[in-house]
């Protein structure tokens, strides 16, 4: 092996692409009689082969680009919205807010309030009465909902939704209210793709008030749609309202065989700020047969004030309640197999 030290230098240069032809030839000759160096060179070859076999996935990357652009556009619009008052101050020729006089500030706020009111009235000017024939935008929304890949991220929508309102209509239909480029009022059956699309969009934090998001969670419980499920998972992870996160987990928890839900519940158990959500996560995971020891480790890592409640719930759920005895991780996985 000691004799191989200088050959190892050659192999290092070969890896770095710095070995000359003569050196490579000598190394190849040495490898014929040295299994140690030969095995290293073979892995080098295999890595080159593995790399050459990887072809960029054009369709997947195009989808990635669209998703990034969608998110970037959404963030740019949000930032622009957050910056309207400074812009107004700037366009009014005022000094920075800290230096503005109380009288000037009052004038600016009055002007801003007038603009908001005008915007509100203008925005409502386009509202269609319920039951009116959908206009071109509604047709486009419907087309997008139909064309959407069931697995696509709700953020990757051709429309940005806001001001979402969901109400129960008559005869099991749902009344949807939302803004895209105009405010639409549609009546659709629960199985209509537009309903799933709007519910999924309403669940995205920041696009609708908390009341609408809670209503969307309630409606989502009736919609077995993968887009809605994806939005529920996102809401469980990202929604600023604990009530929405709790509701999202409650709906998701009805499916005990879904690895994505189990992963989300684990994440909630480990880092969710709301104790209520963590308690529900324990219920779900214990009920899914996850080993008590696995849950105990997650519970024990919780902050002191919360830990007691979580330990008590874990004890209750794994000693005589459902999940008693706990299943091994392997058994848990086997249960998931179709």
């Amino acid at each position: 092996m000691k004799d191989c030290d200088r050959w190892h230098q050659s192999i290092a240069r070969r890896l770095a692409g710095e070995a000359g032809a003569a050196e490579l030839a000598s190394l190849a000759e040495h490898c014929l009689s040295c299994p140690d160096c030969r095995s290293l060179c073979a892995i080098d070859e295999d890595l080159r082969g593995a790399s050459a076999a990887v072809q960029p996935d054009a369709a997947g990357l195009a989808e990635v680009r669209r998703a990034v652009m969608r998110q970037a556009r959404s963030e740019a619009q949000r930032d622009a919205g957050a910056a309207w008052l400074p812009r107004l101050l700037s366009s009014a020729g005022s000094a920075p807010p800290r230096a503005i006089s109380p009288r000037a500030l009052a004038a600016v706020i009055t002007a801003a309030a007038a603009l908001v009111a005008a915007g509100f009235l203008l925005g409502r000017g386009g509202v269609q009465p319920p039951g009116a024939a959908p206009d071109a935008v509604a047709r486009e929304v419907g087309r997008a909902a139909l064309a959407g890949d069931a697995r696509r991220d709700p953020l990757d929508s051709p429309f940005i939704y806001s001001n979402v309102r969901l109400e129960d209509g008559t005869g099991g239909r749902l009344h949807l209210g939302f803004d895209v480029s105009a405010h639409l009022e549609l009546d659709r059956s629960a199985g209509d793709p537009v309903v799933a699309e709007v519910v999924a969009q309403a669940l995205l934090a920041g696009t609708s008030p908390v009341g609408s998001r809670l209503k969307a969670v309630a409606v989502a419980a009736r919609l077995p749609d993968p887009r809605v499920r994806g939005a529920l998972l996102r809401a469980l992870r990202d929604d600023p309202s604990p009530a929405v996160r709790l509701g999202a987990l409650a709906v998701l928890a009805r499916d005990r065989g879904d690895p994505a839900v189990a992963a989300a519940a684990f994440r909630a158990l480990a880092g969710e700020p709301s104790v209520e959500v963590r308690l529900l996560a324990i219920d779900y995971l214990a009920g899914s047969g996850v080993e008590r020891e696995t849950l105990r480790q997650a519970v024990d890592s919780a902050a002191g004030a919360m830990r007691g409640a979580l330990q008590a719930r874990l004890l209750a759920r794994t000693s005589g309640g459902f999940g008693a005895g706990g299943q091994s991780g392997a058994a848990f996985e086997r249960r998931r197999q179709p």
Binding site: H8, I11, A12, L15, A16, G17, E18, S39, L40, I43, D44, D46, L47, R48, G49, A50, S51, A53, V54, Q55, P56, D57, G60, L61, E63, V64, R65, A67, V68, M69, Q71, A72, R73, E75, A76, P259, A262, A263, F266, V290, T294, G329, A330, F332, E333, R336
Partner: protein, 186 residues
């Protein structure tokens, strides 16, 4: 003459999203190959690329042009790859299955050969994820990006001698990891 990376980045900072789209198109192939080396499968690679492009967009204003945009982006891909791997490890530790997505394979002599080749490659990529992180990153940058030692050193923030050593030590660690996997196989 096509716009330079720096010009496109500046335009994107100024609000021209189309410029950022051009930047993504220019480097998505490179980013994907590196991400594939880190994740070992298509879905993971796409997740990493998406997270990296989004992260790069959010931090565009911090890009000063002191290094090449490509180097800056690849650093972000490495960071996102690290986060992805952590998340996968946590998922794996919690007994949840980690599916390797079906990956298109270049046509081989026959189905049996293709399967064997794919198994070998999957084993290699899994082992690459099992070794020391910096060694693994150095190898991914060398093989999947085809970068030279000075570029690898710049991205990993070390000198060229260290980068060379990491490549060689990484290869030896990879051999040991592969041997362990073969012994552990039923």
């Amino acid at each position: 003459m096509p716009a330079t990376d720096k010009e496109l980045a500046a335009a994107a900072v100024g609000g021209k999203l189309a410029a950022y789209d051009s930047l993504m198109q220019r480097y998505e192939g490179l980013a994907y190959k590196l991400a594939f080396g880190l994740a070992g499968n298509r879905d993971g690679a796409l997740d990493i690329v998406q997270a990296a492009f989004l992260q790069a967009y959010r931090n565009l204003a911090r890009f000063r042009g002191e290094s090449a945009w490509k180097t800056w982006l690849l650093r972000i891909v490495l960071n996102e790859g690290r986060d992805w791997r952590r998340a996968q490890r946590r998922r794996h530790e919690r007994h949840l299955p980690l599916e390797l997505a079906a990956e298109p394979e270049a046509p081989g002599p026959g189905p049996e050969e293709t399967v064997l080749r794919r198994e070998k490659r999957d084993r290699l990529l899994r082992s690459l994820r099992g070794i020391n992180r910096r060694h693994s990153l150095a190898l991914a940058l060398r093989y999947f990006e085809g970068l030279r030692v000075p570029e690898i050193a710049e991205i990993l923030g070390c000198n060229e001698t260290t980068a060379r050593n990491m490549l060689f030590r990484g290869l030896r660690r990879l051999r040991a990891e592969l041997a362990e996997k073969v012994e552990a196989a039923p």
